[in-house]
């Protein structure tokens, strides 16, 4: 069996674990769909106004909730998944086999990519069918590149973040403590234009806002060209590289609760 075939087996197994985990399935796949439907129903599908002129609100909400779904699948999914594998001693066991250590990450990252892609497709479909959202065509390269850079970066950050999470039970609180405030200041729930200037600048330092902004550029019907938001993607990628370096330096394979 080649390492590529090994990866295929690992991915299939990790996808099985994903669909059998109600919490992961709900937060990654179902919640973004509920949010999109609720937000557009509650706040109306009128024109956005301001810098977005006559663009429909739903056209801005779809990329916002795609961002939420991708962050759930990658950052939250990797952190929770790897912490539970680590605390159950499964990571340590895998280190005791001849399997290459990267296979553990590859399976989880693959799962994040697959689930993020499916949820993105569902959100696009709901937006187009029910809310008249114009889907990216000429800006499709920008959308795909942004999804890739975003998912990869948030996966790397998720792997790094496991070092700070001491137990499986601490996982939901520890991840939400980071992502929920960032969703609020990054334009996922509230348009960024309604936030104070200082808060906008603050949010721009973190990776969620550049991700939402880059996705919004790809969905904005006025965007000319391929829809690649270079500056935003650079900030995102820088976070991803930082996450990867921290993960390579600080990731641990043995349960933290069983010290020694």
């Amino acid at each position: 069996m080649t390492d590529a075939e090994r990866f295929a087996v690992q991915l299939r197994s990790d996808l099985k674990v994903f669909v059998r985990n109600p919490a992961a399935l709900f937060f990654t796949a179902i919640l973004p769909v509920i949010f999109l439907t609720l937000f557009v129903s509650i706040f109306g599908n009128h024109t956005a106004g301001g810098e977005f002129g006559d663009i429909k609100v739903s056209t801005l909400q779809v990329p916002a909730f795609i961002a939420l779904a991708v962050v759930s699948a990658s950052f939250v999914g990797l952190t929770m998944g790897l912490v539970s594998l680590r605390e159950d001693g499964i990571l340590k066991r895998v280190r005791g086999t001849p399997a290459p250590p990267w296979i553990v990450f590859a399976g989880r990252i693959g799962t994040a990519f697959v689930s993020a892609t499916i949820v993105t497709a569902i959100l696009c479909a709901i937006g187009a069918v029910f809310f008249g959202v114009t889907l990216p065509t000429s800006t499709l390269p920008g959308l795909l590149l942004t999804l890739f850079v975003g998912a990869a970066s948030f996966c790397a950050l998720g792997i790094a973040y496991t070092r700070l999470v001491g137990s499986e039970d601490a996982g939901p609180a520890m991840t939400n403590a980071v992502v929920l405030p960032l969703y609020f200041v990054s334009g996922v729930f509230v348009p960024v234009s309604e936030l104070p200037d200082g808060l906008q600048t603050f949010a721009g330092v973190f990776p969620v806002k550049p991700f939402v902004d880059a996705l919004t550029v790809a969905f904005d019907p006025r965007t000319a060209g391929a829809g690649i938001a270079g500056g935003d993607l650079l900030v995102l990628a820088a976070w991803g590289v930082a996450g990867m370096l921290l993960a390579m330096r600080f990731f641990i394979w043995t349960p933290r609760q069983q010290a020694g």
């Binding site: 069996m1 090994r6 059998r20 001693g89 499964i90 005791g96 001849p98 010290a259 020694g260």
Partner: protein
């Protein structure tokens, strides 16, 4: 002595040392495990068992000493070496959302020459639970899956760290059958256990570690034979003072029984029975017992240093 010792020995340890700060967990430990034998590694908590095993498994570094596992230094163990060993960790869990069959299928992809999954399931007796989620298995069934995961790669050497802890007696007997079966397959087994009867039932040889060093090593029977003393016990006959019995001064009274330690059990028994027969007395619950491995173990481990052990227990509890 064969020309290539590595060919005869699965594990060789010479002068192993490991400290955590000021705490010397393993001090100058030497032992070897022959190919194809079941070797039991015994010792109280905090004696250095887990540290030693994890060095052998390549999970921990060492401070000094030579270590060879299947001829390879575990510190340099590569994928080919890992493929030849199987490990059951003390604290291992399989993924609760997968079934034993799915878990074994995933694990078999990790190894270059795995055993068939169905064969492994049968080997550990999990046929009826193969398609239940791990979350719904009992502790004993999960432990059997752990053993299955250590066997799926068809390894030459298997480390079993307390494989039957928490089992009910029937499950332990079932596990013993599986472990004894590994010997038939020509595997080498390195077993750590708290249960002395388990070591006595399974092991070809045992080593007892205390405070980081080996205090006894050999076949269980030879360790027991090294202790010459047998114990004769019986219910003291009513109306007879212990001092009036043959061997009087040596008799102790404990647990409702008169107990007599002797190196000459045949002669002592003859005297005692003669004395009783003369008087028409039946010595109830009369018994001659050879010491078990447990007695030898407790003698060695408790010898002198009760305070040491208390300290070891305390540090274990703190860890």
């Amino acid at each position: 002595m064969p020309a290539d010792p590595a060919a005869a020995n699965a594990i060789e340890i010479d002068g192993l040392r490991k400290s955590y700060g000021d705490d010397e967990a393993v001090r100058d430990l030497s032992l070897h495990v022959r190919r194809g034998e079941i070797f039991a590694f015994l010792g109280p908590n905090g004696a250095g068992k887990t540290t030693t095993v994890e060095i052998l498994e390549g999970f921990r570094s060492r401070d000094a000493g030579e270590v060879r596992v299947l001829g390879v230094d575990p510190a340099d163990g590569n994928r080919a070496w890992r493929a030849r060993i199987g490990i059951v960790l003390q604290e291992g869990r399989a993924h609760p959302l997968l079934t034993p069959r799915e878990t074994l299928e995933l694990w078999s992809a990790y190894y270059p020459h795995p055993k068939p999954v169905d064969e492994t399931i049968a080997l550990v007796g999990l046929e009826e639970k193969a398609d239940e989620r791990v979350a719904r298995l009992s502790g004993g069934q999960r432990r059997r899956l752990d053993v299955g995961l250590a066997l799926i790669g068809d390894p030459d050497l298997i480390f079993l760290d307390e494989p039957t802890t928490g089992f009910d007696p029937a499950a332990r007997r079932a596990a013993w059958v599986v472990i004894a079966g590994l010997r038939e397959l020509g595997k080498t087994v390195f077993l750590t256990t708290h249960y002395l009867d388990e070591a006595q039932a399974l092991a070809d040889r045992v080593a007892i570690i205390k405070a980081g060093a080996i205090v006894a090593e050999g076949a269980p029977d030879s360790l027991v034979a090294g202790s010459a003393v047998s114990e004769i016990s019986f219910v003291p006959p009513a109306g007879v003072a212990l001092g009036e019995l043959p061997g009087g001064p040596a008799i102790e009274f404990a647990g409702g029984l008169a107990r007599l330690q002797t190196e000459l059990p045949t002669r002592m028994l003859a005297e005692l029975c003669g004395w009783a027969a003369e008087r028409g007395i039946e010595l109830e619950r009369l018994q001659v017992a050879r010491p078990t491995l447990e007695d030898v173990y407790l003698d060695l481990v408790e010898a002198g240093t009760a305070s040491d052990e208390a300290a070891a227990d305390a540090s274990e509890a703190a860890a």
